[in-house]
């Protein structure tokens, strides 16, 4: 069985297929047990610290919920403005300090590679909850869990990734995991926001079939999963460029009516315009179920990091 005890969770590429299967299996067990009771007190007495240097609702609250449902406690930095970061403290000093208090740290920071730096600086496990345009591996794991639940299997998948594939860290982590399961991947984005070449090249070298296109209908018709992402305003230096692009890859009922069959729609959320709320009642719209799955997957990761599974 996969052993994550004491390990950092930094990057989608750190997992073997067996490890992913083990994590999803534990998540599935937790989901079943939580139907019978509200908590599984495996981490009683442990403390998780959240350090979010960028806005977040779901990732932070999801970890706080997961930790509390495991019986553990939570401390959080709160806003950057109300913390010692406002006094000019470096990231590593903040992390080193918090590592004196907590048993595990969940970190989101705008700088690529920051989670790795933090992990190298402290003895306790670091969970990367987003490092700039880098990675967001726990999101990718909950995405895989959702695909498995919605589709029934992770074998022979065809997945369309749609939107901002250049800066979207969740898709960067997700393709790492999909490639372990030999999924066929459509990458649907405007030319300016294509998946970085080093990632597509790496996938192809691993024998993954990658199709880059701007045609969302073609991709959706070939796929069982449509993974939508937000075109993030904060990634653009030129806001007019953002305004021009954001409407290009939008999912609505009219689009879904054009498709040959039902697709499963995922989105890491928050969404802005890229999925019309009229889609929410479409049977394949799985993005709120996906949020719930985040609890089970993060519980599994936390339990395994502490050697409790």
């Amino acid at each position: 069985m996969a052993c994550l005890k004491g390990k950092d969770i930094l990057h989608g590429n750190q997992f073997t297929r067996k490890e992913i299967e083990a994590i999803l299996k534990v998540a599935s067990e937790f989901e079943k047990e939580l139907k019978k009771k509200d908590t599984l007190p495996l981490l009683k007495g442990k403390i998780l610290a959240t350090l979010f240097f960028e806005p977040s609702t779901r990732t932070r609250l999801s970890f706080e919920t997961a930790m509390q449902r495991l019986g553990g406690g939570v401390i959080g930095m709160g806003s950057v403005e109300s913390s010692s970061v406002a006094k000019g403290e470096t990231l590593l000093d903040t992390v080193r300090t918090v590592a004196q208090y907590a048993d595990v740290i969940v970190l989101r920071h705008p700088r690529l590679g920051s989670a790795k730096e933090a992990a190298d600086a402290v003895p306790i496990p670091i969970i990367n909850a987003g490092d700039g345009a880098g990675q967001h591996p726990t999101q990718a794991l909950l995405d895989m869990y959702t695909i498995q639940k919605e589709i029934g299997s992770l074998k022979n998948l065809t997945v369309s990734l749609v939107g901002d594939l250049k800066y979207g860290r969740t898709v960067h982590a997700l393709v790492e995991l999909l490639s372990l399961f030999k999924a066929k991947i459509y990458m649907v984005s405007p030319a300016l926001l294509r998946m970085p070449t080093e990632i597509t090249t790496g996938l192809k070298e691993n024998g993954i079939e990658v199709i880059e296109t701007e045609d969302m209908v073609e991709a959706a018709n070939a796929s069982s999963i449509l993974y939508m992402t937000r075109i993030q305003k904060e990634r653009f230096a030129d806001l007019s460029e953002y305004e021009r692009l954001k409407g290009s890859f939008v999912l609505n009922r009219a689009f879904l009516n054009k498709l040959k069959r039902k697709v499963t729609i995922l989105h890491p959320l928050p969404r802005v315009d890229e999925i019309d709320p009229e889609v929410d009642t479409y049977p394949g719209a799985a993005y709120f179920r996906q949020m719930r799955n985040g609890i089970f997957v993060r519980m599994a990761l936390l339990a395994m990091i502490f050697g409790k599974r």
Copy 2:
């Protein structure tokens, strides 16, 4: 006995007199039990989420305390700036997401009707902690509990409501509850900030005696309860109008000395100038006791929502 299991708490008018009496009875039992021990672990394993889109200290901390004294856990959105709301997420998407994590949501949002919209969107209970100039029903319940404790009964009350009756959501919810107990109500406000006509009309149709006046002495002399409210700067488009009005309805020792007998003074707090701190030692000044009562009433509501009373 009243059954609130699984119900939303949205509006003062949702309660019957019997339900209010039942809630206050549970609150009273909890108050007694908390004198013997610090917690009543009825909600162990449950998680309450706070979503406050407007500033709050007491309502949020009061709910967090109530939930923890019941053995439950708490997650909170934190400031709007540090959440996904900053990325343009709609209220309903935020609420739908948090409903995947928590077992109950306490919501404060500036838009009238927002709590009802949220309640319609999710399967878990929503507690309205203020929706613009709309309602704040848990405040009204703790006000009733305080009146009962201070006066000894909810029968044959005469209550003066003072200050901003137009935008003050706590008084909007309170009059709903007072009317169930056939209280006589003085409404003391500047002309610009009078109670909305639809509310006074509704009260009168229900046989409630309503006296609108600008004379605070007359009202206070006829009342056993003086319910003060803050004239809220953030409700005024024109700040000079605010400056002109805010001093008009102020309570101080000189005013109290003019009265024929002791009154019980309530205030939802925070106050700014409308109660002089010299009043704090007046025996009828009940506004800090009122804060404490909020814990017992919110514990009662939470326990009842989860079917534990």
Copy 3:
């Protein structure tokens, strides 16, 4: 044995030598017990409130951790902007309200004397976590604990305090405690930031040997402890004065190589430039261990305040 039950923690000068020894003894016992298990549930059901009107990471998180490791719960005001302070509430009203909810309050506020005012206003214990340029007694206690652990004893100490001794509240509290143990104290600061005369005079009247100097090498060579502090930008009205001074009292490897023997380096953190990160691997660099010690000392204080030790 020292009895802190129900007491406020406001000022370094409130403790006797016996009390400090008792606190450090309990802290040491807790440190040992926490090696065997994650929590010591002495304060189950108690609630600690944090009210921070100035930025903080470590003090707030340290108290939150300490309370949770003792099995207690935590509520926190969050940022000033998201609280009722934004509506113009006074400090004392906020404190009086929160005292209705929590069992103990940890307060940081920019006004000198604010913690004492708060303590006088409410029946529950107040812990001063910084009142402007005043005091920060729990920091001083954890500093003493760290010195005892690093040096092996609190007897016959020679300590150099370096940096901003005028506005630095941690050193104001620390000298009170050092004087009880008859330490010899070097005060190394620019002329503008010298220790206030009333403090040095008081120390000398108590028979403490105080040497004021701008020569950090001389002081360090005579001391076993080098207590560095940040020259805080936010204390300066004139920023050019800050820029001129901040580089003057900096610790780096070159400086340490000039010394005759190893020194123990403490710092309340956050640091900005005053300790070069290259110093972090120096064996005497104890400032991150110092952070960890804060947990044990604050656990000891909390347990003792509630009469559990």
